[in-house]
Symmetry: C2
Subunit: 228 residues, 2 copies
């Protein structure tokens, strides 16, 4: 028992600790998600390094990480910029969503009850936030709904792909002027989708998801071309 505990402690550092570059990347990722840094904005190595109290080398490592997540764009000799998504990017993101979330629906037959509970939580949270007019939080809960839906695939890699995909989508959400108009209609539709899944009507859920994603994509693309 003592030996077992001693051995466990070897794993301790694998949890709480991380490199400075990763922690910096976490901070910047949050800042991008919350819209503090806006798409197109240049992130100065000098300024941000000084603000966070890290060296340029360390900061550049963090930039590489976020560049790989497509949240930042690296332009040679010009610096890093918060990614600006095109309408084509939005279309591509929704192609991926149809594939991953569509597969998740088909996997719902043999999903654990815990997996369903996580989805149910997200739906309830969205409804609560909507009742209280916290539309930013509705958006966050919506994202959590889809993240947990995708988790029905039971693949940690797809979870990670989904996480990055939704982080990218947030870049678009911030462009939307009216968060309520965009998020509100989907709250009851999340509920519908959940009930179809829980009652085992998989085919129907699949069709509903297609329509759902089609509508969401259309709204985003419309907001992208306001003057046309």
């Amino acid at each position: 028992m003592d030996n077992a505990v001693a051995e466990l402690e070897h794993d301790r550092d694998r949890l709480g600790r991380s490199s400075t570059a990763e922690r910096v990347a976490d901070i910047l990722r949050d800042r991008i998600a919350e819209g503090f840094f806006t798409p197109g904005q240049r992130l100065s190595e000098e300024a941000i390094g000084a603000a966070l109290g890290v060296s340029r080398n360390t900061l550049r490592e963090a930039f590489r990480l976020l560049g790989h997540e497509r949240l930042l764009e690296h332009r040679l000799n010009r610096g890093v910029f918060v990614r600006v998504l095109s309408a084509e990017d939005v279309a591509d993101l929704y192609r991926v969503r149809r594939v991953i979330e569509g597969a998740a629906v088909r996997h719902s037959r043999d999903a654990s009850s815990a997996a369903f509970a996580a989805i149910r939580d997200a739906v309830a949270e969205a409804e609560r936030a909507a009742r209280e007019d916290r539309w930013q939080d509705v958006g966050t809960a919506n994202i959590r709904f889809h993240q947990n839906l995708a988790a029905l695939n039971g693949s940690s890699r797809l979870d990670e792909t989904m996480r990055q995909l939704l982080a990218e989508l947030r870049l678009v959400f911030h462009v939307m002027d009216n968060p309520r108009a965009f998020h509100e209609p989907f709250v009851p539709r999340n509920r519908e989708l959940l009930e179809l899944l829980e009652s085992g009507r998989v085919e129907e859920a699949g069709r509903a998801l297609e329509v759902y994603l089609g509508d969401a994509e259309k709204l985003l693309v419309q907001a992208y071309t306001p003057r046309a």
Copy 2:
């Protein structure tokens, strides 16, 4: 390690365009793919930086990129190691393949003829390499077959996901002692799959793909637990 580093210096002249960190990452990625660096091997900042003639800062940026692609594993204060995949990793990779390639099959109805031509090329290349006993090349062509198959989804992000996934799988392939035994059976099956797709028998192709991937996964997992 000394010999390895000496041989690495052959790659020195490939440095010349775009960002140094990215080019270094390209070189290391190729080296991992070809099995020059083997799973579990530690990549010394000092030795590799010297061999490629780049500073440790630049090399660390490249390491970050490959770590994000799951080809390298970052252990804090211990360095970077070529990723060692577990049986669970293999299972997860095949879960993702079923999702992405399965969706690709369903997308095959409205795929361009150019997309089919790319798949056909890969099949033919695999057959040619098999006839000439170039089993390493058969493996490469097989990978190209699945990459092009996944491309039927028409999503650049899924293409990239697939590219990374197959790069990870290569890590496992190198563990297999007998490349012929693993790759050969799939050459005619690639052809079958292609013909099902080209004749529009999508449902049948979907089922064939499931069996295909199931068999491939089983072979890999078996090779992973030789003593049981």
